[in-house]
């Protein structure tokens, strides 16, 4: 049965064209604390998902999801792979000719990532997402999803994808359950699994009470949840979400974030774009910053934030004032930009972690009652605006 929790093996074509068998251990996910009734696990669940589940079970937050994913580290298993993908559009000659929405993009998204794509309007985010889903054909380059070439085998690739567009639109004349039922059938799910699956998704999306309501009567937040429900109805391992938070009120956005985190924890790979950077900052494991069809930064969120800065700023707080912290820092080699506050100071330090460790050691030796040392992390919004304005390249 397609949605049983039993162990099973499934074969798929790997990124190098060979058949690979992924052993699924659904029982591992059963330990992760997420309701089995609410979350149906992907058919080809990855090692990374199991790691995520185990990490959650043991509450060992120090265990990084990425650190236990050797397949992803050696590059053998990517959910999405873009190779030199280019998309050019024509603009009328009076508007400047050609628009390059994607300029030779190379991007690998490992299985189990929650990957955020950030960029201004017209950066090429939606085009990139549509190309991943096989909805637009790249002018050049190759895209694979789970090792399947999207151009050569679009239907095979699309069975692994749940897609939500930026201008989401639903069939207003249908009832909520009919809408999910339609897509379950369109994804060719086994007939006997459709009704329970529809009920499960309605529960997961908190729409059980609206089961028989017509879609035109739903609020925007409910419609958005229904749209996500449609995207996961066939239990795809990959969700491609284009601006899912657009137009939602703060409460609905919080609910959406929780939902995305749950889906991610259940093993879904999520490729998401958003204008609301603080949302991405909270949920994404990796991000890419895109502008004018090019990827300016790609990487893990923390690394991108750090790499975005040419120098690192720290804040030292003392248990009590009176030490002369600002003066001590100003006299030290490698420290600049000291900003003094009562019992604390902000400063810029050349060098990496070793230089910081040395400084803290000396500061404690000098008798300073150090109670907190913290790297000052700038927000994603700030980083993004600096990068996109060319301050950092």
């Amino acid at each position: 049965m397609k949605y049983s929790n039993a162990d099973r093996a499934s074969t798929y074509k790997g990124p190098r064209g060979r058949d690979e068998t992924v052993r699924q251990d659904r029982r591992a996910l059963g330990l992760c604390g997420i309701s089995q009734a609410a979350l149906i696990l992907p058919a080809e669940i990855s090692r990374k998902s199991r790691c995520a589940a185990i990490a959650k079970r043991s509450s060992d937050l120090a265990l990084s999801i990425d650190s236990c994913d050797p397949l992803a580290e050696d590059g053998a298993q990517f959910m999405i792979k873009l190779e030199q993908v280019t998309k050019q559009y024509d603009l009328p000659s009076e508007k400047g000719g050609e628009l390059v929405a994607a300029d030779r993009l190379d991007l690998d998204i490992a299985d189990g990532e929650l990957f955020g794509l950030i960029g201004p309007n017209g950066a090429g985010k939606t085009t990139t997402l549509k190309m991943v889903c096989g909805l637009q054909v790249p002018t050049a380059g190759r895209i694979t999803v789970k090792g399947i070439d999207v151009q050569l085998e679009p239907e095979e690739a699309q069975r692994n994808i749940g897609y939500l567009a930026d201008f989401f639109s639903l069939y207003d004349e249908l009832k909520v359950w009919e809408y999910l039922d339609y897509f379950a059938r369109a994804y060719k799910m086994e007939p006997h699994t459709i009704a329970p699956r529809v009920d499960q998704v309605l529960r997961l999306m908190n729409l059980e009470t609206k089961r028989d309501a017509h879609i035109h009567g739903l609020s925007r937040g409910m419609k958005q949840r229904l749209g996500i429900g449609r995207a996961i109805i066939h239990d795809p391992p990959l969700l491609v979400l284009d601006e899912p938070a657009a137009g939602l009120d703060p409460k609905a956005r919080v609910e959406l974030k929780v939902l995305l985190k749950d889906l991610h924890a259940a093993g879904k790979t999520i490729f998401i774009t958003s204008h609301i950077l603080s949302d991405l900052e909270e949920i994404c494991t990796n991000i890419a910053i895109m502008e004018k069809g090019r990827l300016l930064r790609i990487g893990r969120l923390g690394e991108v934030m750090r790499e975005g800065k040419s120098v690192r700023r720290y804040r030292v707080r003392l248990a009590q004032s009176g030490f002369g912290l600002a003066m001590w820092l100003a006299g030290r080699v490698g420290v600049t930009g000291v900003v003094s506050e009562p019992a604390s100071a902000n400063f810029v330090l050349d060098g990496g972690d070793a230089a910081l460790a040395e400084l803290v050691k000396d500061l404690v030796a000098a008798g300073a009652p150090v109670c907190e040392v913290q790297e000052v992390v700038e927000s994603l919004e700030r980083l993004y605006s600096r990068i996109s304005s060319g301050e950092v390249m």
């Binding site: 580290e73 030779r104 002018t139 990487g299 690394e303």
Partner: protein, 520 residues
């Protein structure tokens, strides 16, 4: 069959359109219409009852053909405007499943209305003592005919751009009107009876005393019912093929038919054109002792027949050429895939090889059929006719190459503006040449064919014996014009090649490291 019944798209349309309230309302309206029609008709006589049957069938055709056709015309287009079509494209439904779901799902309410009116038709058929076979035939024609028209409407809906709905609906209505005339019954030289599903109503009034309703195909008599079945089935097949090939594709890369498929479709249309023509009516006499062949039409001279058929074939292949035109996106993708060879001379003459081959083949067939069936007199010249075929082919090739070149320009809707320029050019040149026609010599008019080749066609056969050289020169000049447009197309293609080859790719690394990309 059961798989078709659970086609998700069909089910979705049924759920939306046949909700109990709406279905009951439709059924009540149909019942009211039936009762009204029954009470006003003189059903006590056989004629009155057959009249009621005919009226019912016409009403059913009207509802299904026009109502269903308009629903199909909007089916894909509306989904695109609502942004729901992409969701259908990413499902596992195949193009054919999606197409069939829309083909029968979009007009499902009109099918229901037709079903509700069937009791009235049966009642009228029983009272009018119309044979069961005739009623069955009528409904088969109605159903298959409407499916063929709906397939065309669905194809149009798929390729329709934003804002063109009203115009396409108008075009659809015109097409229905044109094909609903009874061409085989004395109004023209075509030996094909009524083509549209309105023919179903005519089936019902046939009685044993009347002559059988038959068509002529290359001189062979065919039962009209069989003709319609074959034509509806083949046209539905062609249209569904186009839909299947493209429905789930990126609209920017639509290609209705592959070049070979398009060529075969154009040849099929030509075979129908030539097959249903009344070839065997020699001047002054009708081919068959049948009032259907008009005496005044039967005596068309061979030259006129050749020119009219040749022009019809040329139109068909002109449309084929338009279907095969490459837009900038396709040209760009070819350049990325094939590099420099995508801008070679062979690519620069696209799509004329198919157009030329088609017109030459069809033209030769026309000339041969004229020789076989019409045995033309001294006023007809075989080499002149062959020259006419070559002239027509060069003319169409020139215009198609012009459109292809214009289609590669960077502008909004390049093909539409190219068409407009072409229409304006022919209109202005035609007016100018008509005005000056009386003032200049015949040879000067012949030279004017370099601009407007249609000017020369009516005179060509007459001029041929004495002006071989001049006409050959005009043909060469026309070919040179075509090569001029091919040259321009080549230049455009080279514009695509240059940036694609020269620009270096930026370096990029995978996502497992923070990557800063050069912003060259």
């Amino acid at each position: 069959m059961s798989e078709f019944a659970v086609n998700p798209e069909l089910l979705r349309n049924a759920r939306i359109q046949l909700r109990p309230g709406r279905a009951i309302a439709a059924a009540v309206i149909c019942a009211a219409i039936s009762l009204t029609a029954w009470s006003y008709s003189s059903y006590d006589s056989t004629e009155g009852s057959t009249g009621l049957l005919r009226l019912t069938l016409q009403l059913q055709v009207l509802v299904l053909l026009l109502g269903g056709g308009i629903a199909c015309l909007q089916s894909v287009h509306r989904e695109k405007e609502l942004n729901t079509f992409d969701y259908q494209r990413v499902t596992r439904l195949t193009s054919l499943e999606l197409a069939l779901g829309k083909l029968f799902g979009a007009p499902i309410l009109t099918y229901f209305v037709v079903l509700c009116l069937i009791p009235l038709a049966i009642f009228a058929a029983v009272l009018g003592r119309v044979g069961t076979l005739l009623v069955v035939e009528a409904y088969i024609v109605l159903l298959l005919g409407c499916i063929a028209y709906h397939s065309l409407a669905l194809l149009a809906s798929m390729v329709l751009g934003r804002g063109g709905t009203a115009m396409v609906i108008f075009g659809f209505l015109i097409l229905v009107a044109l094909t609903s005339s009874e061409t085989g019954r004395g109004e023209s030289n075509w030996l094909l009876g009524q083509f549209s599903p309105f023919a179903a109503a005519s089936f019902s009034i046939w009685s044993p005393g009347m002559p059988p309703w038959r068509d002529m195909f290359f001189g062979r008599t065919i039962w009209h019912f069989a003709t319609l079945l074959v034509l509806y089935a083949t046209f539905t097949g062609w249209f569904l093929l186009g839909i299947k090939r493209n429905l789930k594709r990126d609209p920017a890369t639509y290609e209705i038919y592959s070049p070979l498929q398009g060529f075969c479709f154009a040849m099929y249309l030509n075979i129908l054109l030539l097959g249903f023509f009344n070839w065997q009516s020699s001047p002054g006499t009708a081919f068959i002792n049948d009032s259907r062949v008009p005496k005044e039409q039967a005596g068309l001279p061979a030259t006129s027949i050749e020119q009219s058929l040749l022009l019809s074939s040329a139109w068909i292949f002109f449309v084929l050429g338009i279907l095969l035109l490459r837009n900038r996106e396709r040209a760009r993708r070819r350049v990325h895939a094939l590099s420099g060879s995508a801008a070679g001379w062979w690519a620069s003459v696209w799509p004329t090889p198919y157009v030329l081959a088609g017109i030459l083949l069809a033209g030769l067939a026309i000339v041969e059929l004229i020789r076989i069936y019409r045995q033309p007199g001294q006023d007809w010249s075989y080499p002149g006719a062959l020259f006419e075929v070559a002239f027509c082919a060069a003319w169409v090739a020139r215009d198609v190459l012009y459109l292809q070149w214009m289609n590669l320009r960077r502008t909004r809707r390049p093909l539409v503006s190219a068409f407009l320029y072409l229409v304006i050019f022919y209109t202005c040149a035609g007016i100018m040449l008509t005005v000056t026609e009386k003032l200049v010599s015949e040879r000067a008019i012949a030279v004017s064919a370099l601009l407007v080749p249609s000017q020369l066609l009516p005179r060509m056969v007459a001029m041929w014996p004495a002006n071989h050289g001049l006409l050959a020169g005009i043909l060469v000049s026309l070919a040179a014009e075509a090569f001029g447009f091919a040259f321009l197309q080549r230049k455009k293609l080279h514009e695509f090649v240059a940036p694609a080859i020269s620009a270096p790719a930026p370096t990029a690394k995978n996502s497992h490291h923070t990557t800063i990309l050069s912003s060259s």
